[in-house]
């Protein structure tokens, strides 16, 4: 069995969202991620797809240790990192970096490119000398297709695509194994988005990186991912190879999601049988019993309403959480 770089087991994340009752005696809790499990092999891209509120970003943040885990385990390179804090967490974090969505919000406007990219080196005290650090920054800028002449410019001088390259350079500074990219291209125009997607793919090949690619855009995720996990209302409902998810989806939600994505091809769009699924995802404060998708599912049966289906292997390397398939 190929070694799993990251294993997530029964991960559950809850948030306190205020109090209820006359005296405020009861805490209101929202379960953002509910008992999900998956593992990621070294060198692969695992795409995590879902609509807003499905828990995909929270999953990424929980792996990074940025939100407390209510229950479940996260193992990185065989080591249990659940609830790790302080020094230990810092040493693990060097191997796990985040690429956030918004390249405008994630770069301090008062820092120069050189300092922005060198910051992780400073934080993790890998700072042999200022000159050596600058050399490393130049290396990283070249790696991400930026011009080393830009070293002493401020972020405002760059377009969204260039800023995202700076963010990527920063994420690579410590030679991480795993990169969690949370909607890394959704804020970019399509022509620029393609540049960044290609860059991420090139970097993966050159540096043997493992990615968790979190996005709502199925077309981008399918393009870049080896395996894909589909989330719905805090649950992981299907996990399989990218091709299998697309060609032979098992979960009715995955089917609905796939058929909702508009294809840039007028003939296909015209011939498309209207496959609009009605309704909306459930209120996360009051998730329905049974399968979370049952209220919108065209195949719903009595069992779906009463009992939550577990994520189980339905075909080789293809898991889904559905009673009916």
């Amino acid at each position: 069995m190929p070694s799993a770089l990251l294993e997530v087991e029964g991960l559950t994340v809850t948030f306190n969202v205020g109090r209820e009752g006359f005296w405020g005696q009861r805490r209101r809790r929202l379960t953002a991620v509910d008992d999900i499990s998956f593992s990621i092999k070294r060198g692969e891209t695992f795409g995590l797809v879902g609509e807003s509120g499905s828990g995909k970003t929270t999953t990424g943040r929980a792996i990074l240790g940025k939100v407390p885990i209510a229950s479940g385990r996260v193992r990185f390179a065989g080591r249990d990192i659940t609830g790790m804090e302080g020094k230990e967490r810092r040493s693990i974090r060097q191997n796990m970096q985040l690429i956030p969505q918004n390249p405008y919000g994630s770069l301090n406007p008062r820092m120069k490119v050189r300092d922005l990219v060198a910051e992780p080196l400073v934080v993790h005290q890998r700072f042999p000398s200022a000159r050596r650090a600058t050399e490393r920054v130049v290396e990283l800028l070249e790696l991400t297709g930026m011009n080393p002449d830009d070293l002493y410019k401020y972020p405002h001088a760059f377009s969204g695509g260039q800023r995202q390259r700076i963010v990527i350079a920063r994420a690579l500074a410590l030679n991480p194994d795993l990169i969690i990219a949370d909607e890394p291209v959704s804020a970019l125009d399509v022509s620029i988005q393609a540049q960044v997607v290609n860059l991420l793919q090139d970097l993966q090949r050159r540096l043997d990186l493992t990615y968790i690619f979190i996005a709502h855009d199925l077309a981008v995720v399918r393009h870049i991912s080896h395996r894909i996990g589909i989330m719905y209302a805090g649950k992981l409902v299907e996990v399989a190879n990218g091709e299998d998810v697309y060609r032979t989806p098992i979960h009715p939600y995955t089917e609905a999601l796939l058929s909702s994505v508009p294809i840039p091809d007028p003939r296909i769009e015209r011939d498309r049988a209207a496959k609009v699924i009605p309704g909306e995802p459930p209120d996360p404060m009051q998730p329905p019993p049974g399968c979370r998708f049952h209220a919108r599912c065209p195949l719903v049966q009595k069992r779906c309403i009463e009992e939550a289906p577990p994520l189980e292997v339905k075909k080789p390397e293809h898991q889904a959480a559905c009673w009916l398939r």
Partner: protein, 337 residues
């Protein structure tokens, strides 16, 4: 008028905004028309001028933006005339924009907001307006309209808010709907619902549609005619099929190549290197030339949008697939003046 009168005609429109270090030429010499029952799409990336065109088509270009040239005509009359624009906005042209919360007042109930428009433009009494508002909510797929009318916008989900905005837009039986990125803020299953709603309303009510978006997937299904916008100019226009299957302008082709498709597994996306030009500077020649793989010395002078017999046009000196284009003008393209 000797020509057939178009519903909406935008003719040589030029819009500028003041900016630090000069003016931004947001819309440069843009012309297109929308006829009765037609659905026209405008596709462009950020900063290409698409939302400014939407505002101009509503007669809503306001300071600091200025129309410095050209015309926007509704049934042959200029929307630059503020009074006329106010008359037609609502009963004739209405709009659905990206952010439904920004289109509604957060402190008034849905019912108040819906009836306000109808009382003003349709000369209805308060009670009749409420009945009509309920019917409209039902038509756009909002269950239990009676109760919903008394609620505030925040009590609706994003998709439901957009339905309410569509209901408001339809409340005075307009002839044309301008939809400016109507589904960009929505999740994909909700997007499918809203697009489905817009196209069925269009069929049932015979509406014209001007759909403005960055998403080629969205226009593919919703529009018959397309205009591709780049750096404030229309670089190519034609039917959806022509543009998708036989793009002439290298930008159109590049845009298609850089869009990942769910139904096709591509090894690599063909990214367009570089970035759109800074519109604070005067763009000399073809605005796409610096990023274009086919650019030659000739592209230093501006190509104009040559129109073919079939209404197809492409502003390029080196159009792809030009032997099939049947363009008029010298050398098959209209040269620059």
């Amino acid at each position: 008028m000797s020509r057939r009168e178009h519903l909406l005609e935008v003719r040589n429109l030029e819009v500028v905004y003041p900016a630090r270090g000069g003016t931004v030429q947001a819309v440069r010499d843009v012309s297109f028309t929308v006829d009765e029952g037609e659905s026209t799409g405008i596709v462009g990336e950020s900063g290409s001028g698409k939302s400014t065109i939407a505002r101009a088509a509503l007669g809503l270009v306001e300071l600091p933006g200025r129309i410095v040239g050209g015309e926007v005509l509704w049934r042959g009359r200029s929307l630059r005339n503020k009074k006329y624009a106010r008359q037609v906005r609502g009963p004739e042209i209405s709009v659905v924009s990206q952010d439904p919360m920004a289109s509604m007042s957060p402190i008034l109930t849905i019912g108040t907001q819906m009836t306000e428009v109808m009382v003003r433009h349709l000369d209805l009494g308060k009670k009749e307006a409420v009945v009509r508002a309920g019917d409209l909510l039902e038509k756009v797929g909002i269950p239990d309209p009676g109760r919903r009318l008394g609620q505030y916008p925040f009590e609706f989900s994003g998709g439901m808010q957009q339905r309410v905005v569509i209901a408001i837009a339809l409340s005075c039986d307009p002839k044309m709907l301008i939809a400016d990125e109507p589904t960009t803020a929505l999740d994909v299953t909700t997007q499918a619902q809203i697009l489905d709603l817009i196209s069925s309303l269009r069929r049932d009510l015979g509406l014209s549609l001007l759909l403005i978006t960055h998403d080629l997937g969205v226009v593919a299904g919703a529009c018959d005619l397309l205009n591709v916008l780049y750096a404030g100019e229309i670089v190519e226009s034609g039917t959806a099929d022509e543009l998708f299957y036989r793009p002439h302008h290298p930008y159109t082709a590049a845009l298609l190549g850089s869009t990942p498709r769910l139904d096709v597994k591509a090894e690599r996306l063909t990214a367009i290197e570089g970035q759109p030009p800074d519109l604070r500077q005067v763009v000399a020649g073809c605005s796409f030339a610096p990023r274009c793989p086919y650019a030659t010395g000739r592209c230093e002078s501006s190509p104009t949008l040559g129109t073919s017999s079939a209404g197809r046009a492409c502003a390029c000196w080196h159009p792809l697939d030009s032997h099939q284009g049947n363009l008029t003008g010298s050398e098959g393209r209209l040269g620059h003046a």
